[in-house]
Each structure stands twice: as structure tokens, then as C-alpha cells.
Amino acid sequence: MDLFSHLALGFSTAASAANLSYCLLGVFLGTAIGVLPGLGPVATIAMLLPVTFGLPPETALIMLAGIFYGAQYGGSTTAILVNLPGESSSVVTALDGYQMARQGRAGTALATAAIASFFAGTVCTFLIALAAPPLSEVALKFGPADYFSLMVLGLVASIVLASGSLLHALGMIILGLLLGLIGTDVNSGLPRFSFDLPELSDGINFVVVAMGVFGLGEIIANLQTEKTRSVALARITGLMPSRDDLKRIIAPILRGTALGSSLGILPGGGAMLSSFAAYSLEKKTSKNSAQFGKGAIEGVAAPEAANNAGAQASFIPMLTLGIPSNPVMALMIGALIMHGIQPGPQVMVEQPALFWGLVVSMWIGNLFLLILNLPLIGLWVKMISVPYHFLYPAILVFCGIGVFSLSNTSFDVFMMAGFGVLGYVFRKLDCEPAPMMLGFILGPMMEEYLRRAMLMSKGNAMVLVTRPISATLLAVSAVALVVVLLPALRKKREEAFKD
């Protein structure tokens, strides 16, 4: 069969000594930069790009890809240990992962994340090997109207992210949407809310907001309650998930993988939604839903699986169509072009060794990550028992470096400090920042897609319901909205009666 001969070719490419060692180097580097808050794969890959010129293209790509998915692994480590999500996808991991860490279950949370990611990565590798070209054709069916409706669904789901008051969650989502308005309007090219500051003309970077609101806000709050924190961290229970834990995470991992791989193939921002969607789905369907936000292991397993599946699946449009779905993929395309390979549909045909070698190397890389990360868990867990007066200045410095590296400007660092204060205020007001982050991510995309759909339909809003994909997504959103709001409203009534 074709598949086996292709996989055999892939293995023979990926398992060469040079490619194996570059793959290991890639995932190691990726883990390292992922663990450092704020430092992302984009800056690292950009710096290493010239180094790869001397390598054969498949080796270069294998290493760069390793950095990318290695960073996804590493990113969840800081999200769990110190509530610092460096990537949009790890925002939800932080919700329950950090709570688990506070309960002394950091090791379990990290192991769960690693296992979930490995499983999702394995499934997704096979998915790419089996069906990359037809999947990319499906992805192209999504037009602007369909993306808009997908974002609407995402926004509805974001209400579920909050575990507290519904009103607060709605308020935070709207605040996120407003923050997302800052920057240049795509249609007219006019700057909005930029106060003539060129630094604001491209909007606020996600990492700046996340580092500030989550990381810095957490630090300020911790400094206020230093004593309780050390007590909470004193008892660290087993590092590995128990048999009972494993039983609880199997279904969430499967669902997360399915969601992540289906959303991940959409080049217009699907991968970003996958971890949010997986978390919301689990929270609504799990029988432990009351625990979500307070350290539910399902709340780590599902989004981590979805996040890794989404990351791997985003290679599908890149490899089969030459379409980048995120800045890292854009860099990979740049790397391919510099090696004289035009990314596009014919890469699979003209460069089979490159294509299949990369696919197989992604599986090998995931295995490396699992082997690399499981023994490291003990070390990471020890790291958070470092006295806080040593730990927090280090975190601050790394956040500063990471945010500076985004676009090499100190403006971003000051902005992060501002968001840190805001994060502390949110905490005092009992407003959870996760729904705000989702509003912030989705708002600009939603607007862009809606306005593009309207331009193309000459202002006819009916396209949103006449296109089958869009109509289905809107219908699902309507149902989801009812499901989300009903219990909350009922609870409100009950509370009202109690008083």
C-alpha cells in the first residue's frame, strides 16, 4: 500500500543520525524557550533561520518544526507552575493546571499535559499521513462568512470559561472585544484608538496582555498573601497520575484530540480556538464539572490534547497548500523558499522525502518530548518550592525579556506592567481574565471576517444563513447559548429566592 511505502520513506529520512539529532535539538530548544515565559518560537526560529541554510532542507524543517511543537509543550509547563500562559492556547491550561499546582498536584498536572499532548500528537501525525490533501480541500470550503460564524460559536463558548459570576464573564468578554479594537482597521487602513502612537497601530500583542494580566497580576496577588502561598505548596503529592486520574482523562483526551485536529486544519485561526473549545466542551459535559476552575484534571487533559493536535494539524494547510495559519508557519514557508522549495500542493509529489520525513519526525519528536519531559517533572516541581522572593524576580525578568523580544521595543514591556496592575484589579474584583482573553483574540477576527463577508456579498447579511457551513455553526451557537445561559439563570433565580 502507498501509505506504508510513504511511511517507510519517512522513517528512512527521519531516522538518519543527523535528522534524529536535529529533531532532538529542535524539541529541546523548543521546550527550553517554551518554559521561559514570553519567549516564543517565532523569535527563536527567526534567529536560527540563517543557521539552517547550510543544512539539507528536510533537516532544517525537522529542527524548526521541533522547536514549534516543543514550545507548545514547554508553554504549558509555565502555565501550570506559575500561571504564565505564553501562548494563547495555554491560557485555558492555566485555569485548572495552576489550581492543581496550588493543591500540590503540579506533577500530576504536568504528566497529564505531557501524556495528552503525546497522544494527540500521535493521532494527528497519522491524520496528516492519511488524509492531508483532502482535509486541506475541506478547509478551503470555509469562506469569510463561515469563519465569522465559527468565531461567534467561540465567543459563546468563552462564557463557559468563567467559573464565577455570569455578569462578570460577560463584562470581561466585552472588555476583551474593546481591547481588540485597538489597531489599524483592515478595511480602511485607518488607525483606531492608537492615540497616534505607532506602537499601537498594529494592535496590542496577545503575549503582552497575557503576561501582564496572568503573570504579573498573579505575582502582585501572591506578594500580598505570601504566607498562605507557601503553606498551600508545602504538600506535594505523587508526581504521576493515579489509576483513577488516568481513567478520568481518557475521554477528555480523545475529545480534545478530535476537536483540535478538526479545528487545526482551518488556516484562518482554527488552531487558536481548539483548546478553548475543548475546555468549554469538557466543562459542560463532564460529571465533575463543579470542579472545573478549581483543579479538575480533565481541564488540563482536554485543552492540552486539543492544543497539540491543533498545532500539528496546522501543518496540513502549510504542507499541502503553502498556506501559513500562524506566524511560525509563515517562517517555515520562508525557510522552505530560502531552500529553493516552493511550498504548495506539489511539495508532496516533488519532495516526498521532505514531506514524509517531516511527518514521521513529528511523531518521533513527540516521543522525544515525552521522554524528555516526564523525568523533568520532578525538577520543575522542585522549582516552584524555591522561596518566592527568589522566584518572582526571576519570573519578572524573564517576562520582561520575553515581551521585549516580541518586537524589540520597550513600549511593550511598559504595557505589560500596566496590564499587570489591571490583572491585580481584576482579581480583587473577582473578574476572571480568561473570557477577556478570548474576547480579545476573537473580536478582531470576527470583525474582519464579518466585514469581508459583507464586502463580498455587497452588504447582504443573508449569506450568514444561506451558506450551509455558516448556518450550521450559527445554529450550534444558538443551542450552545441556551445550554450555557439556562443553568446560570436558574442559579440566579435560586440565589434570589434564598435571599
Binding site: P50, L190, S201, P267, L321, G322, I337, L455
Partner: protein, 319 residues
Amino acid sequence: MKKLITAVALAVGLVAQAHAAYPDKAVTIIVPFPPGGSTDMVARAIAPKLQQSLGQPFVIDNRAGATGAIGATAVKNAAPDGYTFMVASIGVFAVNPFIQKKLQYDPVKDLDPITVAVRAPNVLVASPGFPANTVAELVALLKKTPEKITFATSGAGSSDHLTAALFWQKTGTTGVHVPYKGGAPAITDLLAGHADVSFQNINAVIAHIKAGKLKVLAVTGDKRSPLLPQVPTLGEAGVPDVNVFSWQGIAAPKGLPAEVKQKLHAAIVAALNDPENRKRMEDIGFEIVANTPEQMAQFQAQELARWKQVIEVGKIALD
């Protein structure tokens, strides 16, 4: 005594520094765009060669934002000593002044041109299911139903948007402008048939053209592209005066000392003409230009005049 020795040593050091040949420390290349794009690629191709020939590290500093204005402003504010220069695109050198009201740099007064590095024609592509197969058919369609034909561009005021505007002006037509955030999502919608036509950089679409996933109607250069020898130029297809190239130029802060400029220029031209670089660039559709500072200044003046007119006639000015 010790102090005296220190002072003497310091003084000797200073004198030595003043006489040291350029460059005696690391040089920063500012790229006013994110890593991975065409401009970044040019910078990353020449940096290692410059490092070899001039013996100092050449560090790339991506200062993205405000369609290149942030990076260009940083160059303006840097000392004109040869330790900072910039690789930037047509937009930074010839378009931004007309579309950004609060621009903090002047591409002529604040920058010292060194050389045009590379240029590449744009290509007029259409989605595979689009009815028109030639430029003439497209023009006929645009005259009949301009409100139905969407032009995908990589943003309001981008060079492909301006090329479309120039095309409309020269053919007396118009179409629906649909801006995207960059070229990649625009190409995605073209491949899928959600958008109809677009002017795109040749290296961004060549793979799709060769795979038959995009139709190509014309190239915008004054001669056919070696990558697409069978495709006519717009002039050959009956639309004269739309010779558009997307180009990358290199410039330093105004007031670069003559000897530094000469040395830097020679090294950059050699790096661009390096056989390995040349092949790499040509394979992806770039043409090496590597001309003199005077030629770049003259070319930049022409481009400024042309785009100013296109923007005024097309009422594109953003604010």
C-alpha cells in the same frame, strides 16, 4: 601613578578607536517587518556575507509595525555612522508618506539611499473558477459587472492594492477591493474561490500557478519573467504603463560619511552578487538590482511621484 597610566591607556584607546577602520563593532540591520517575509529574507541572505567580508557581526533587528514606519523611524533616529542601516520595501520608501498622516520619518530627507537590492514583478492571478482567462476578458467583465468582481489585496494602501488601483485607472474600470491582513490569507481565499483576482508577488503564488491552482493572466514587469516565460506582460496584453515591481532597498540614516557609505555599498553589492545568493534569489523570482546610491535616489523619486498620483487619483489616502 596608577591613575595616570589608566588615563594614558584610555587616551590611547580613544585615539585608536577614532582611527579604526569601519566597522570595528557589530552592525545592526533593521528590518521594519516581521521575520519570514520577503524583506527579512533579503536581509538574512546578505547578513552572513557581510559578516564574512567586513569581519564584524551583522545583527538583524526586526522592528515590525505600522507598515514599516516604526523601523524606519528607528533608522532615522540612529546615528549616521554605518552601524545601523535598514532593508525595507517599496512601501517604506515610496508609499507611506501618502497614506499615513502622522508619519514620523521622511523617506527622502531622513534616509540615505545605498542601493536597490532586488526587485520582482507582480503577477495578476485569478481563482481557478474565474470566468476570464485573459486580461482583455477581465477588463470586459470589469466594465460589465464591476460590483461583482473582488480584488483581494494584502491590505489597504499595500503595494498590491495600489497596483490594482493603477490598473483600474489605466483601463477605466473598477472592482470591489477586499483587503486582508497580508498576502497569505488573500491567496488562501483566491485558491478557494472566495475572492476573484489579485496582484501578488510572484514568489508567493508561483507554486500555485505551476500546480494549476491559480490562473495567471499577466505579469506587471516591462519584460516577461523567466519563471513564467509563457505569460504576457500587461503591456503586451493591451494595458500599457502598469510596469510595477515590488522592490527592496537598503538605506542608512541621513548623513552617512562618504568613506563609510562607499565601503558599505561595495560590501552589500558584493553580497547581493554572491553566486549562491544570486541563485537563491533568482530561483524565487527576484531580480538582483544592486545599483548605486544615486540610481536608487533617482528611482525612489520616480516611485514617489508615481504612487502619489495613483493615490490622489484613486482617492486612497487613508486619513
